[in-house]
């Protein structure tokens, strides 16, 4: 008999969760990490942050540096495989571990099975809260008209679409609006944003225009790279939209200024 993921989670009294912080959160926006810790602890998890973690290897992997990516994948697996779950406040890094590690190490008799095992228990933060822990609402009040942007990896590699909308919908005062052609990329794409800067700019310009067209005063997403890209563009164009990671809002963490400073 098979059991659902939620049932499995309940059987572990207090799941030990390893938080994979991600490079961008570590360097630019620690508050996302602390918001993730709060959300996980509130949901009954024991959260640890292994110091042996660095980068998931995705920049190397997507640059064609397979060997370097494999080295980092092994390091990440070794640092995290002892946890019940690995949770990532990013669909992009989460997708790397969950979808790409098994393929990257497929041919490796020793590491292949370990990659598969870690992939099976790795989740993007919001989908982990909703799908695995069964969190249906948060006790937060925050008045805003917010556009939610589906970051591509979370959306397409991990199926993160309705979970954040549902949890954000439980915030008192929060109205979620949809952006036209919402499945379209924001133009970030990691190194793509600097290597093909003009093209990336055209894409983010279109995206931020569509965001502004909704009349929102807040922009939320689950990936810091995309958020920094859109926040940077909104700020350059003088559009007063408050940009935040979805975890910060779900955790009710409003002391820190939004991404890119004002408003």
């Amino acid at each position: 008999m098979s059991i659902s993921e939620a049932e499995a989670a309940q059987r572990i009294e207090r799941p030990r969760v390893g938080l994979f912080v991600t490079c961008l959160v570590d360097l630019f926006r620690p508050s996302v990490g602390f918001a993730a810790v709060k959300l996980l602890e509130d949901a009954g998890c024991l959260v640890e942050v292994p110091a042996a973690q660095t980068c998931c290897g995705q920049p190397a992997y997507n640059s064609g540096a397979r060997g370097e990516a494999i080295g980092l994948a092994r390091q990440t697996i070794a640092a995290f495989e002892g946890f019940d779950y690995i949770v990532v406040p990013s669909g992009s890094c989460g997708g790397m571990i969950k979808r790409h590690y098994p393929k990257l190490l497929e041919a490796d008799a020793a590491w292949g099975p370990r990659a598969k095992a870690i992939a099976a228990k790795t989740y993007e933060l919001v989908s982990f809260l909703a799908d695995v822990l069964g969190v249906a609402k948060v006790e937060v009040a925050w008045t805003a008209k917010a556009a939610y942007h589906d970051a591509c990896s979370g959306l397409r590699e991990l199926g993160v679409r309705e979970q954040p909308r549902k949890l954000l919908g439980s915030i008192a005062g929060m109205e979620i609006v949809e952006v036209a052609d919402r499945d379209a990329c924001c133009g970030f794409g990691g190194t793509f944003s600097v290597k093909y800067s003009d093209v990336s700019n055209a894409i983010v310009e279109d995206k931020t225009k569509r965001i502004a067209d909704t009349g929102c005063n807040m922009l939320l997403a689950g990936d810091l790279g995309c958020l920094m890209n859109m926040a940077g563009k909104l700020s350059r164009d003088g559009r007063a939209i408050e940009v935040r990671h979805v975890a910060e809002v779900l955790a009710g963490q409003r002391d820190n200024p939004p991404i890119g400073g004002k408003p």
Binding site: Y61, R66, L72, R156, A184, V194, S235
Partner: protein, 475 residues
């Protein structure tokens, strides 16, 4: 056509400044994304059909030799001829020879991407034939002497105003007083000009969306009917196709057709789906006296044996480019060769060499929408990544991006050093990011700050630093 793919960045920057192009691309994006999404949503079994379509092609590619031989047998039985060509040059020469043998003067053409790939028009014109494209979009780019900018909408980059100007430039008979600003008037004008060519043509050349092994049939999927006139009216019909176009049975084609039109134009089925088997039989009211299929390998055998094999499942619907943010931004010509968009980023390096096309697989944000909409489930981002790996292996070790990447990976393999470096980096970034953001001279930051502000790190140090403190306090 001579590849211009190494100039991708310059091509793209020019495209971004081109107001006509930007207008056309905006319109095409809205139109295609909307129609295709609706058409897919209306068919509950669409996802199952995608699996079935992919399985058919996978099966066929695994037994390609058998199906190609069966195709040849059936075509011959029906009175047609199959000609095998390994290279584009062989295909061009074969077609030229057939045209000469037919004493042809005028050649009409239906839309064929393979013809673009092997630069057939230039070859035939040089050999003295009059070649007329009869697909409206192909006709437009022919009179403009441009390559297609989209695999099913070759002239999708043009505005109505540009088309009118081209017609006035080329169609000398057009009285200035005649109004041709409306789309119907433009189509009427093209129809009038092309009708004479259909009647004058000695040879008609078409591509093939499919070749059916069990019946020896070529299939074309069109909306204008020009393809039918091209293959039925002239004395000789030549089908130009690459070897991966073969499918086993009529039933298989029916399955794939159900995903093709929906993914291409958002139609349930195209206006015309035409099956041609052999030349005119005694009982047929019309049709060509001779029927030839020129079957080109053109590098497909090599692709078949490589990690890019699934790209041969492509049915050329264009959905990947219709949904690609990079394609939307820069249009098809920026890609610099015949196939634009994500499928172009995979096929172009395979056909002209990664050294000639190294930008294309890199010029993607890996958003994955192409794979999501591909009716054949071709893993396009994965294949672009494979090309990046080839490029990385070929790149000189001294190239800056490669050096930077290796240094960074070295660092990331040493967590203690890495965290200290991050803490320092965090402090430096805080220091240099004033209200104005980062200065443009920092390595790699110019590409960012040219168009965007750089969000400064939050105060308080890196997460790891703060976490260590919190743990130290026993929080």
């Amino acid at each position: 056509m001579k590849p211009n793919t190494l100039a991708f960045k310059a091509n793209a920057s020019r495209a971004l400044q081109d107001a006509d192009l930007q207008h056309s691309m905006g319109r095409m994006r809205t139109h295609y994304v909307g129609s295709i999404t609706n058409a897919r949503a209306k068919l509950p079994e669409f996802e199952a059909l995608r699996d079935a379509a992919r399985d058919i092609k996978n099966h066929t590619l695994s037994h390609l030799d058998l199906y190609l031989e069966e195709l040849e047998r059936k075509v011959t039985e029906a009175g047609g001829h199959v000609h095998w060509a390994s290279t584009p040059a062989e295909a061009r020469n074969l077609i030229e020879a057939i045209c000469r043998h037919a004493n042809a003067r005028t050649i009409t053409k239906g839309k064929s991407m393979i013809s673009e790939e092997i630069a057939l028009n230039a070859h035939l014109e040089k050999a003295g034939f009059k070649v007329v494209e009869t697909d409206l979009g192909e006709y437009l780019i022919q009179i403009r002497n441009e390559p297609p900018s989209h695999i099913i909408g070759p002239a999708v980059h043009l505005t109505r105003g540009q088309i009118e100007a081209d017609f006035r430039r080329v169609h000398k008979h057009l009285p200035e007083s005649r109004n041709i600003t409306e789309p119907t008037a433009l189509v009427d004008e093209a129809r009038n000009v092309l009708r004479e060519q259909f009647i004058a043509a000695d040879v008609g050349i078409t591509g093939a969306n499919f070749l059916i092994a069990e019946t020896g049939t070529s299939v074309i999927v069109t909306n204008e009917g020009n393809g039918d006139l091209t293959q039925i009216l002239p004395r000789v019909h030549i089908v130009l196709a690459t070897i991966e176009k073969v499918v086993p049975t009529l039933e298989d084609v029916s399955t794939i057709l159900r995903v093709l039109a929906r993914s291409a134009t958002g139609q349930e089925i195209s206006n015309y789906t035409t099956f041609s088997t052999g030349p005119k039989r005694a009982s047929d009211p019309d049709g060509p006296a001779a029927y030839h299929i020129v079957l080109l390998d053109g590098g497909r055998t090599e692709i078949l044996a490589s990690e890019f094999r699934e790209a041969l499942n492509c049915i050329r619907c264009g959905a990947c480019m219709d949904h690609c943010p990079v394609y939307h931004a820069v249009g098809g010509h920026a890609y610099g060769w015949v196939y634009p968009g994500p499928i172009g980023a995979v096929m172009t390096p395979a056909l002209i060499g990664i050294g000639q096309a190294r930008h294309l697989p890199h010029a993607s944000s890996f958003c994955g929408r192409c794979e999501e909409v591909c009716p054949m489930r071709i893993p396009l981002p994965k294949m672009m990544r494979y090309w990046r790996e080839h490029d990385y292996a070929l790149a000189k070790r001294g190239e800056l991006p490669q050096r930077a990447l290796r240094y960074w990976a070295w660092l990331a393999r040493r967590p203690g050093v890495y965290h200290r470096a991050f803490a320092t980096g965090n402090r430096l970034l805080r220091l240099v990011s004033g209200a104005k953001g980062l200065p443009k001279s920092l390595p790699f930051a110019g590409g960012w700050t040219k168009h965007r502000d750089f969000p400064a790190p939050e105060p308080g140090g890196t997460f790891q630093t703060q976490w260590a403190k919190r743990q130290g306090r026993g929080a």
